[in-house]
């Protein structure tokens, strides 16, 4: 449809029809319809995960109970607990009934019981979530800001020495996997120079309060945060640089130069602001990865976030916890994506019309 708008030989009638389709009431209906299809997409993705979650343990040969809770759990399982679980998962019933009881439990917010942490899966995840949000959230903000500034500078000076150096070094840095960057930082700053703590998010049993507590948290945060920022900068940088390069070819930049605007103003107020949109979009799309993106860094630094929890539950074969985390993360990802989609139409009218 977008292509046909620019066709010069379009009949008057069709042009008129297009004008009408822009009428507020119709476009509103189209928007709602679009929202509904978006929602259907997410429901579809959610259903895939739910089914995976449900089917995989039951595909395993042997006892589904053993597959859900792992062989190790069977050793400590009392007959009464076993009967309890069989009743809860309706394991003695048909597959369709099992699926409906699984969905029923999920609707009640019952993600299952972690025998390793001896608590509801939901409670366990909630205890680890804030640390991930602190680490990955601040890393996302800092890396976006730095990437933006470097990208604007580099795009403006395209082909100059600074641009070439920045491009090569950031691309080089981007090649290092996050867990290797984490290990290197930990080795040098933690093990060899002893400047930062080796693991955790807090000094245990220190009973710190107020400012001392904050500085302790920051002290633990410094190295994992640096590792994440180093790894995440490049994508924002490359995107900003590319957008800057094409924005700088636009007419209004030449006008700004001809008017005698200061270089700083052209860079940031004219070209920079116009290059912002794709970057904001990509950062938004990156938000869902906040939960899983810190996985490796959390493991390397033993930082008590969701990633570390997932890793531990893998090691202890805590299947209800693994499934619970997967479900939580997917729900968050889908929720953020959905709200991004809905917000997007409000944020950028140009995009809305182009569709």
């Amino acid at each position: 449809m977008e292509k046909s708008i620019h066709k010069p030989n379009m009949t008057l009638f069709r042009r008129q029809a297009l004008e009408w389709s822009r009428a507020p009431s119709i476009s509103r209906a189209v928007q709602i319809l679009k929202g509904l299809t978006d929602f259907a997409n997410y429901a579809f993705a959610f259903l895939i995960i739910l089914t995976l979650n449900f089917v995989l343990p039951r595909l395993m040969p042997g006892d589904p109970l053993e597959a859900i809770y792992g062989e190790e759990a069977m050793v400590v399982m009392t007959p009464q607990l076993e009967a309890d679980i069989i009743q809860r998962f309706s394991l003695d019933q048909s597959l369709s009934e099992q699926f409906s009881s699984y969905l029923w439990a999920l609707l009640h917010g019952d993600l299952g019981y972690s025998y390793y942490y001896n608590d509801q899966v939901m409670n366990v995840i909630m205890g680890f979530l804030p640390w991930t949000l602190l680490l990955a959230g601040s890393a996302l903000i800092i890396s976006t800001l730095i990437g933006l500034v470097l990208g604007i500078e580099s795009g403006y000076l395209r082909g100059k020495a600074l641009d070439k150096m920045l491009l090569a070094s950031l691309m080089f840095l981007n090649g290092f996997p996050d867990f290797f960057v984490g290990i290197l930082l930990l080795l040098f700053f933690g093990v060899i120079w002893g400047m930062v703590p080796l693991s955790g998010a807090l000094t245990p049993y220190s009973d710190l309060t107020g400012l001392a507590l904050v500085s302790d948290i920051l002290h633990h945060l410094a190295t994992p945060l640096t590792a994440l920022v180093l790894v995440w900068i490049t994508s924002t940088y490359l995107l900003t640089r590319n957008t800057m390069i094409s924005t700088l070819k636009d007419g209004f930049i030449t006008t700004a130069k001809a008017k005698g605007c200061r270089v700083g103003d052209i860079k940031y107020k004219h070209a920079g602001r116009n290059s912002l949109l794709p970057v904001v979009t990509s950062t938004g799309l990156h938000i869902p990865h906040v939960l899983t993106g810190a996985l490796f860094v959390e493991i390397v630094f033993a930082y008590p976030g969701v990633g570390l929890l997932l890793y531990n539950s893998l090691l202890t074969r805590d299947y209800p916890l693994i499934q619970g985390i997967l479900l939580m993360v997917t729900v968050t990802v889908l929720f953020v994506n959905l709200s991004m989609d809905l917000l997007y139409h409000k944020l950028d009218p140009r995009v809305c019309r182009a569709r």
Binding site: A40, N41, Y42, F44, A45, I48, I49, L52, N53, L56, P57, L59, M60, A67, R158, G159, K164, L167, A168, M171, F172, N174, G175, F176, P177, F179, F180, I183, L184, L187, V191, L238, N242, I245, S246, L248, K249, T254, P288, H289, L291, T292, L295, F296, I299, V300, L310, Y311, L314, L315, R317, I322, Q323, I325, L326, V329, T330, V333, L334, N337
Partner: protein
Amino acid sequence: MHVDYWKEITGSNLGRAGLTLLGLMVLIAVFAPLMTPYTPHQNTDTKAFSPPSKDHWLGTNDARQDIWTRLIYGARTSLEVGFGVAILSSFLSVLIGGTSAIFGGLYDRFWMRVVDAIIAIPGIIVIILVATYLKPNVLLIIVLLSLLMWPGGARVIRAQTFSLKERMHVSAAHTFGAGWSHILFRHIVPDLGPIIVAMMIQDARRAVFMEAGLSFLGVSDPSIVSWGKMMQFARVYTFLEVWKWWLLPTGFALSLTLIGLSFTGFALETALDPRLRDDKHVEGVN
């Protein structure tokens, strides 16, 4: 405008550096048995954790295995997964993206919903979950990674095919009664060659990274040598000197492979994007 993509890549410094690194890694992987007298799983007579020497270029690990040998055999695993995923995933992208654009209609809408759904799912967690239940091996990892990676490429291919579909030679072939497979593989694929190669490089990069990450987490075939697994084992012994010739070379080998892929990919993408190509007269305006 005709663009010689090979010349564009070899003409840029990043492209040359990337291709050199990649070539080096492929040579190491192919000729691994010629470069060492040991096999990767062989327990040598040298004692564990011995420093680099004439017999063992990078010393030995905790199981008295030669680290250099394991390092060069590890390149095989990484490249196998990288190439495997690049081929399988881009094949799926071309097949589904291409046919969606050719057929259109309900078929197109169905696959685009699937693409949206898979993109919204956090891949690494799904692989961890699936690989926890099924016993992981190289082939399974390749298949799983491909199943998660094709949607991004399928979108690109679909968009490109839509515009190609209207071109003279494709509609001519259609008029003469060519089937969809003929149109897709004889007309669309050759025209999209450079884009597909760029897509494959991107996929390979992500696959090498994911394989290393997964084996770092312990999700890998226990019988194969993998860089991620080596780093995970080496990480435990940081209190000894051994990390200098065990952990660091492995990490750098992995990083250099990834850097080789990103440099090559970046050079190709710059050549592909008309806005980013270094047009001299446009530069002159600024």
